[in-house]
């Protein structure tokens, strides 16, 4: 069975969700495969993935702000603090969301719902360069 695989380098601009639906769809197109599964994998522990509404950006801002309130910086219980006050909250936010997502495709198109977009969620304050592996498997 054919496997198409690439590591995308995504530049984030600090905390927030960053849509990656387009580059993932581009890898699917490049694979030449017709029907199967696309796996998206985040190679980091201080950013994560989420499939979220991509219509109203306010919905994403509300989601981000809610998670910031759930996992505040400067929690006096944290002991792993040498990488900065935003590091430990980043690991927790990552654990509560996703590292891998596997998405079906048919007729060469991602079977996302009407309002779904794939997002890389940067949890660190600083801009980072992130590795996202896209693997396409299925019928030619």
């Amino acid at each position: 069975m054919p496997v198409h695989q690439t590591t995308l380098t995504i530049r984030t601009r600090g905390q927030g969700t960053h849509e990656i639906t387009e580059p993932v769809a581009r890898e699917l197109a490049r694979s030449g495969l017709v029907r199967g599964l696309v796996n998206v994998f985040c190679q980091h522990t201080s950013c994560s993935l989420v499939i979220m509404e991509n219509a109203d950006p306010m919905a994403r801002r509300d989601l981000e702000a809610w998670l910031d309130r759930l996992v505040p910086e400067k929690d006096p219980h944290f002991e792993h603090t040498q990488e900065g006050p935003d590091d430990m909250p980043s690991h927790i936010k990552m654990a509560l969301t996703r590292t891998s997502e596997t998405i079906p495709f048919a007729d060469r198109h991602l079977m996302l719902g009407t309002w779904q977009g794939i997002f890389l969620w940067e949890h660190r304050r600083a801009a980072h360069s992130r590795g996202i592996v896209v693997t396409v498997m299925g019928e030619a």
Copy 2:
């Protein structure tokens, strides 16, 4: 490699978990495949998936009620409110649970543990019709 794929339409009756193990197992049987992976994908951002105990329904009610307390409606911080007070909490609950699950099978059977069931978790108050894509890949 053979790929079997269907979109199930699941009717929910408002907030709560709705078991879909049976229809997923039925698609696996229809695929004719013997060993591999079944991917279940939720095409929405206000409902989600979870693999949870299917023995005592009280365990699921406790889980649902706990998440309702963690993400209450009418949070004054929410700005994305035009789709109703249950919309933004639904997106958050979705992000904290799962959009895709990939489950192994062998001898034509899902390798779920004794107490595991696959559930569609409706987060909106109203009944909805939900699209769940089931993709089976593996050895014939």
Copy 3:
């Protein structure tokens, strides 16, 4: 397409994260496959999976302690209590983390990031024997 599949039995020593990167990598090596996807599936509803930093163990302890504070035992709302005070919190912690992870591999190696390890997260107080299914699919 070739499929390699095994159920690992992992002995936990009570609450906490338990690294399983090595046994998963060993199954990948045994498969003989070169490029594709490895699926790791947890057959239980009171333990779960997470891909987390494996450098500083303090980061994991902070993550575990944070989740313990979010989901305390003896919540007076719980009704599913007959299996002990740590049972219902275990189900909730499982639902907030992951049951399945799908990880790409190339050149016979897991494409994990530098700091990523795969962990089985035991949520029960007692030691348990846990079934983790590893399925490898891809190009020979």
